[in-house]
Symmetry: C2
Amino acid sequence: MQKDPAIPQFDLPRLRIACRECTLFQLCLPVGVSEADLDLLENIIKRRRPVQRGEYLFQMGEPFESIFAVRSGSVKTYTLTEDGREQVTGFHLPGELVGLDAIGGGRHACTAKALETTSVCELPYNQLEELWSRIPSLPRQLVRIMSKEVLHDQTLMTLLGKKSAEERLASYLLSLSTRLGQRGFSSHEFNLSMSRNDIGNYLGLAVETVSRVFTRFQDEKVLTVQRRNVRIHDLTALRRISSYSNIPRACPSAN
Amino acid sequence: MQKDPAIPQFDLPRLRIACRECTLFQLCLPVGVSEADLDLLENIIKRRRPVQRGEYLFQMGEPFESIFAVRSGSVKTYTLTEDGREQVTGFHLPGELVGLDAIGGGRHACTAKALETTSVCELPYNQLEELWSRIPSLPRQLVRIMSKEVLHDQTLMTLLGKKSAEERLASYLLSLSTRLGQRGFSSHEFNLSMSRNDIGNYLGLAVETVSRVFTRFQDEKVLTVQRRNVRIHDLTALRRISSYSNIPRACPSAN
DNA sequence: CGAATCCTTGAACACCTTCAACAGGGGTGG
DNA sequence: CCACCCCTGTTGAAGGTGTTCAAGGATTCG
């Protein structure tokens, strides 16, 4: 695993880590859960030993047992299309939940792979459901999180359906920057844990295009990029680029 | 409103329609709710008078009050991007829920517009939440539905990121065909309630491309299309086209 | 009947992809 | 410790798919 100045190592060996001590408390499922109820929640959480880069949290087709909360590191989720190609469906940072798309189908619809050394909290879903009657804020929060997930997917649909290559990469970097900032990391310098291949796959672009746009951004002094290390110099420019301001054609707001 | 042989008129004037009598019972939120509990659920449902074509269920930015279940007709949801362009995020058929993306944010993130005369069940969300303790299957079912929504969005991401124009339209028509079939309508002949503009917007294509692909499909005898009326002749061909079998380039499953 | 909207078709262009080749790290093994 | 190799990332050139621009036809509705 590469050294990564932006992602400090957590105290991984400490197996028993309470939600209330977790730096991600505000971002994760326990939001709104009372002190008294936290114990109930914590009792069902399995804290696995850290997952190494390339290892799986779960794989597509496996029976659905648990959802996972990322504690540190990062996870990529992807599906295999019928002809065996990979479609990256998301990158998950600390505090984010993985596996939500499997609840409805009983089987995992995607594969979750660690992009670096990653630690997660495993939440057995059956046990989680059983807590709902005792902790009503739990299902409320879960539904809220899933609602935001739907919202996120919709912005992604806009990105894929309407945006140019530059707009896509700018939006992507801004998303990463914001999310890292929320988690206490630097929002203007960070290391990408995913390859250009993954980025391109996720953004609906060829690897070469991702590479080219990166160098274009660098030429325009918007950022500096060296392999996986990104330093954003002009956040405003990035924002301007991302909110596509192409001249819109006459677009009758059809019936 | 145009005549539509594939969508028979429901008995709209009858205001009091019980879930248990609803033909959509199996597709909608009440799945898994016991007979005894149905009354509780039905009591909070507001059944509005039918919404006319072009009218709104809700608009972007409005405070979130209710989610809606489509009873008959169809609804288009869309967001306005920062520069005022429209992004269609979905088309909703009978039995499907609308407004789920607003739960997390407190405000509607999209606008829902009727594509034809449409009737809906309005479910005030606060009251719905209050029922959860009495009817535990309600939140379970809601989470399940939202999970499927996430799943659906992911296939759409694949469509937008990886598929060609032909593959997109074929997938879209198959989706419509399947969903209409599930609802008791013909799966090989139906009328589109949305314009080419909306379809193109949804699929990330220019209107002209949608039109061209339609005629190409017609030339290949896959279907007949006359304005909004679609007759599918070769479902197999459509399926073959939709599951893109382009020669994949070397695609190292980059860690 | 006329206006507006929706849909279709044609031609030129643009953006991104594909193909190809090479450069630079990082890891492994000698 | 260096050489080597593989993988990742970069850059160039050609090509294709879909967009844009433009114009005309069809349908609906006032």
